[in-house]
């Protein structure tokens, strides 16, 4: 069983959660001022990190809150869990 430590509810089984991809992607402040390619880059392109990856998760069968996770994509180990709005923690594998 794979446990995720929800910052609000505590440790729960992975099946209660959903992953929603890379975290910390800022929406361009002025979309009209950038090119289609830059907009497409914001919408579609994600880093495909091997190693420590910061991503968004939602506890959708529990408290339904969003939070961020630092996960090692090689070992699938979760290295840190932090709330939306908090700075990404420095983690080591």
């Amino acid at each position: 069983m794979f446990l995720i430590d929800c910052p609000y509810c505590g440790p729960r089984q992975q099946t209660e959660f959903h992953c929603h991809g890379e975290a910390h992607i800022a929406r361009p402040k002025d979309p009209d001022a950038i090119s289609d390619a830059e907009w497409a880059d914001y919408l579609f392109n994600r880093s495909n990190t091997m190693g420590v990856f910061y991503e968004r998760w939602v506890h959708n069968h529990g408290c339904r809150r969003w939070f961020n996770v630092a996960r090692d994509t090689v070992s699938d180990r979760i290295l840190a869990v932090y709330r939306v709005g908090e700075k990404r923690p420095k983690v080591t594998k």
């Binding site: 729960r12 099946t15 069968h61």
Partner: protein
């Protein structure tokens, strides 16, 4: 003459469990009010305590009880007030009066869910067959609640006592499925 609306439950007439050690009973139409607000704001906490008799619990997965009212923790800024059948209008009114002018949300969700009460010596064993929560007494006891999955259905589980007795709040549309699943899961204990 206008038709009179009568409250019906999705579980009316459903056969129950035959196991004495894992009995299921429906408690339909319990009043349920979803409440959201800022627990760091003492004006909010005090107003809820004044209206309901208990302050919204701050500790995750816990329940505050006052008389026949229970306030179940759903999230860091969200609670479910469970109140006796027919009392939801009065409770909602009391909350609206006490919280007037504050940035809150008060929604009567009584008809969205029904409640299945599961109790008996094997009640925990029945739940453990379909729920990923750690239900061991050291981790989950009376006065605690949790939203999770039971046999793939979203549920809100509230432990009432050490019998153990659990109230399982489930969406009405899932309730027949969950009721039948519970009756089947309890079979081995009859």
């Amino acid at each position: 003459m206008a038709d009179t609306a009568t409250e019906t439950s999705p579980l009316d007439g459903r056969a129950g469990s035959r196991a004495d050690s894992a009995v299921i009973v429906e408690h339909p139409h319990l009043g349920k009010i979803d409440l959201r607000g800022d627990p760091g704001d003492t004006a909010f906490v005090d107003a809820v305590a004044e209206a309901i008799g208990a302050a919204p619990p701050i500790v995750a997965n816990t329940v505050a009880t006052a008389g026949k009212n229970s306030i179940l923790w759903l999230g860091p800024d969200e609670w479910l007030l469970v109140t006796p059948e027919g009392n939801q209008g009065q409770a909602e009114g009391a909350l609206r009066t006490a919280l007037e002018g504050q940035h809150v949300s008060i929604v009567d969700t009584t008809d969205a869910r029904t409640t299945i009460r599961l109790h008996g010596a094997n009640a925990r064993n029945v739940l453990m067959k379909g729920c990923p929560l750690d239900l061991h007494p050291r981790a989950f006891g009376p006065g605690q609640c949790a939203q999770s999955i039971l046999a793939k259905a979203d549920v809100l589980i509230h432990q009432l006592d050490d019998a153990p007795t659990y109230d399982i709040h489930v969406l009405c549309s899932f309730s027949r499925y969950l009721w039948d699943w519970l009756a089947d899961a309890a079979k081995e204990f009859s």
